[in-house]
């Protein structure tokens, strides 16, 4: 039997049609992916504050957690409408575990871990940063709505991972 035996008319017609549509499809796929890429990149650049940054590295995994701002756990005012929050993850709590920040202010979160990996997720926002021992990561966010937000650990850290929850209370703008 010939390996390249002739195609039936239906098969030949189907083949020709398939090749034509294949080009259209691939062109469409590439256009779609380029548009998606441009879209996602525009969103990132437009809203650049949410990009994960890095403040520092340390050889000693616990060194950042011993720094004064992390030890104090206070919300630090850094500008007219800007604040810094220093947050340490430890199995199985966040320190500080309740903070107040004002609505509409730009908050820079400095996040580290004193033991294993933790995940710094503020529920209901896109804030999502891995807490790595020895590394201080940063992310900026402005809360547009007042109310109670929860920090939920979203990187597995052991037996009570699920209970590692802290609170952020966003006070309405204008309150002292």
């Amino acid at each position: 039997m010939d390996n390249h035996s002739g195609m039936s008319p239906f098969e030949a017609a189907f083949h020709a049609s398939a090749e034509r549509h294949e080009r259209f499809w691939i062109f469409g796929v590439l256009v779609m992916l380029v548009l998606l890429t441009i879209g996602t990149m525009f969103y990132v650049v437009h809203d650049y504050g949410l990009v994960t940054g890095t403040r520092s590295y340390a050889t000693d995994p616990q060194a950042p957690a011993r720094e004064a701002p992390f030890q104090d756990g206070k919300v630090v005012r850094t500008g007219p409408n800007a604040y810094a929050v220093y947050m340490v993850g430890r199995a199985w709590h966040w320190a500080p575990d309740v903070i107040h920040v004002p609505q509409g202010a730009e908050i820079t979160f400095y996040v580290t871990s004193a033991d294993v990996l933790h995940g710094f997720e503020i529920q209901g926002t896109p804030v999502n940063l891995t807490a790595v021992p020895g590394v201080v990561g940063t992310v900026k966010y402005t809360f547009r709505h007042a109310g109670l937000f929860r920090i939920i650990c979203n990187e597995y850290c052991g037996m009570f991972h699920h209970a590692m929850v802290a609170r952020i209370i966003v006070d309405p703008a204008g309150t002292p």
Binding site: F14, W25, V51, I152, E155
Partner: protein
């Protein structure tokens, strides 16, 4: 027809003698890979629904204390058994057996047996380490969480063993090419080989992590490890593993399914292009799993977005090629109109139905994957239930259902026993499809409310659970419902699978349904008529230089990882281990 080339028709001057006994040996070993893989799935799939119930607030673990100490121990077993042991065993069987039969060349049985033995030793080590709760570190085993040496050495053996089909494939291909100079590699062999070359390269990351860091660390030879370097090495392998799960399923879709539905593959070249692109693009993009990690530059995050989007191309091409091949078969079978061809496919064949349903779930799997790769959207869904929602409609449906589909023809083929119940097999495919779809919709939806993945939320006090996740009660109920259906589906499947092996009625073994492509040869077997490469385009001949593709992929991977690892290597953190479960 010479689709099925019995091994005993081979000429006697072949490098590896292929007698009846050798053919029987191949079938037995293939069956051993299949049974071991599906036994791992039996363990993993038994535990899975407990995790689905957990998200709905049902805490079954206290009742299981003697067996499982915690949700996290169960989750570790679920991930390792399903993600590594099940997929590795089935794949390392298939990607040797199918090419061997396609080419009519016998594999190096000693090497193939060694592959089985190394992975089996690894699987026993990890089972021991997970069973005694000494290593509840989940399937990602991020340090500085520290499991037992049995866990890391077991994973090392599994990883090394899973690359052993590569030399077997290369040897078989070389033997075939010596007899058929100037011809391009047969399609199923080409797809299997690119998959294994991709995996061989990808494995470098996790093997380096294990051999240089976690193995000696767990044995007490070194005191500390760097968490973020190891996480990066893990994802160097951890992203391509997604394709090591997916590509064997594509081998079946491209190489077999068109014949199972009574048609032809409409494009052999597109299958090859798809596999070449999957190989190249899957390697450099692993760090997109770390968009939320500090430490590497925003420029690289942007480049990763572009590369990650590119990975969607081969899968979208697959949607076209497979879709059109199905349409061809459907129209041959008398299907008319826009959707009539789809209804006309042989839905009574459980192997076909399971693969068609798997392909449908991949629409959701692929779409959610694009969300994960989109940086800012990733920030919303990272480490929420959205992520397991996504990969349960890739590996949990495309891979798992396609492997089940393969077993529906392969178990009769290997054992000469008929399926004990075609209806139960169909039932298991449909139930798995419905269950997994409900589960995935629930998980992705709940993720948008910030419900974290892999969290024992049902162990929280009732009020806390409701305060945190009450707003996601509808999607979380879907998760539980999907999980319960999956329980039913998996036991229906295992009844068919093990029932057929043990009690199936004797029948003539069905042949392997190798598909023929438009314009392609009826057979690639070593003793079939010559098939000169003249028919192949220059692109296809170029893609046959697999070492060139491997070199390009390796260079792209090195280029991607040097800038990412550079700052980490210059700021090493010395983290001691923690055992926190």
């Amino acid at each position: 027809m010479s689709i099925e080339i019995a091994a005993d028709t081979l000429p006697s001057d072949l490098p590896l003698s292929a007698t009846d006994r050798a053919a029987a040996g191949m079938r037995r070993l293939m069956l051993a890979f299949l049974v071991t893989g599906f036994s791992a799935l039996l363990v993993g799939a038994t535990i899975g629904p407990l995790q689905a119930l957990n998200y709905d607030g049902v805490n079954a673990y206290p009742a299981l204390r003697p067996i499982l100490q915690s949700y996290y121990q169960g989750l570790t077993i679920h991930g390792v058994m399903n993600g590594y042991v099940f997929t590795f065993f089935v794949t390392c069987g298939l990607l040797v057996y199918l090419p061997a039969r396609e080419m009519g060349v016998a594999p190096n049985m000693a090497m193939w047996r060694a592959c089985f033995a190394v992975m089996a030793a690894g699987a026993l080590c990890v089972l021991y380490a997970m069973g005694d709760n000494s290593s509840s570190v989940l399937w990602t085993f991020y340090p500085p969480l520290k499991g037992s040496p049995f866990f890391y050495i077991g994973i090392t053996l599994l990883a090394l063993g899973s690359t052993m089909p590569l030399p077997i494939l290369l040897e078989m291909r070389a033997a075939w090419r010596r007899h058929r100079p100037g011809e391009i590699t047969p399609l199923v062999t080409y797809m299997s080989l690119t998959t294994m070359l991709m995996w061989g390269l990808a494995g470098v990351g996790v093997v380096a992590e294990l051999v240089l860091q976690l193995d000696p660390w767990s044995l007490g030879l070194i005191g500390t490890v760097d968490p973020i370097i190891n996480r990066t090495l893990f994802w160097l392998t951890g992203h391509p593993i997604v394709y090591f799960w997916l590509m064997p399923a594509y081998v079946s879709w491209y190489g077999l399914l068109s014949r199972q539905v009574g048609g032809k593959l409409i494009s052999d070249p597109m299958a090859r292009i798809t596999f070449a692109l999957l190989m190249i693009f899957s390697l450099p993009v692993g760090t997109h799993h770390q968009f939320s990690d500090p430490g590497f530059s925003s420029i690289w995050r942007g480049i990763l977005v572009v590369l990650t989007m590119s990975v969607a191309t081969p899968s979208l091409v697959t949607a076209f090629t497979i879709g059109l091949s199905l349409e061809y078969a459907g129209r041959l079978r008398g299907g008319k109109g826009w959707f009539g061809w789809f209804a006309a496919l042989p839905w009574a064949d459980p192997s076909v139905t399971a693969q068609l349903l798997a392909a449908i779930t991949f629409i959701l799997g692929g779409a959610t994957g694009i969300v994960n790769g989109s940086w800012q959207l990733n920030a919303i869904v990272h480490n929420t239930t959205f992520i397991p929602g996504h990969f349960h409609v890739t590996v949990g449906s495309v891979t798992a259902m396609t492997f089940m589909a393969i077993s529906f023809w392969m178990v009769p083929h290997l054992t000469g026993r008929r399926l004990v119940s075609r209806r139960l097999a169909l039932f298991s495919a449909w139930t798995w499809f419905i269950g997994m779809t409900l589960f995935a919709i629930g998980m992705t939806w709940a993720g948008l409310y910030g419900v974290p993945r892999r969290a024992w939320v049902s162990a929280l006090p009732h009020d806390t659970y409701h305060a945190l996740y009450g707003m996601a009660s509808v999607p979380l109920a879907l998760v539980a419902a999907g999980g319960v259906l999956l329980w039913v589906a998996s036991y229906a499947f295992f009844a068919v699978f093990f029932g057929t092996i043990l009690f199936g009625r004797r029948t003539a073994p069905p042949p392997i349904p190798f598909a023929r492509s438009f314009g392609g040869p009826a057979s690639y077997s070593i003793d079939s008529p010559p098939n000169p490469a003249r028919a192949a385009s220059p692109l296809i001949r170029a893609l046959d230089h697999v070492w060139l593709l491997t070199g390009i992929t390796a260079l792209a991977t090195i280029a991607a990882y040097i800038p990412i690892l550079w700052p980490f290597l210059h700021h090493v953190t010395r983290a001691p281990g923690w055992i926190l479960w």
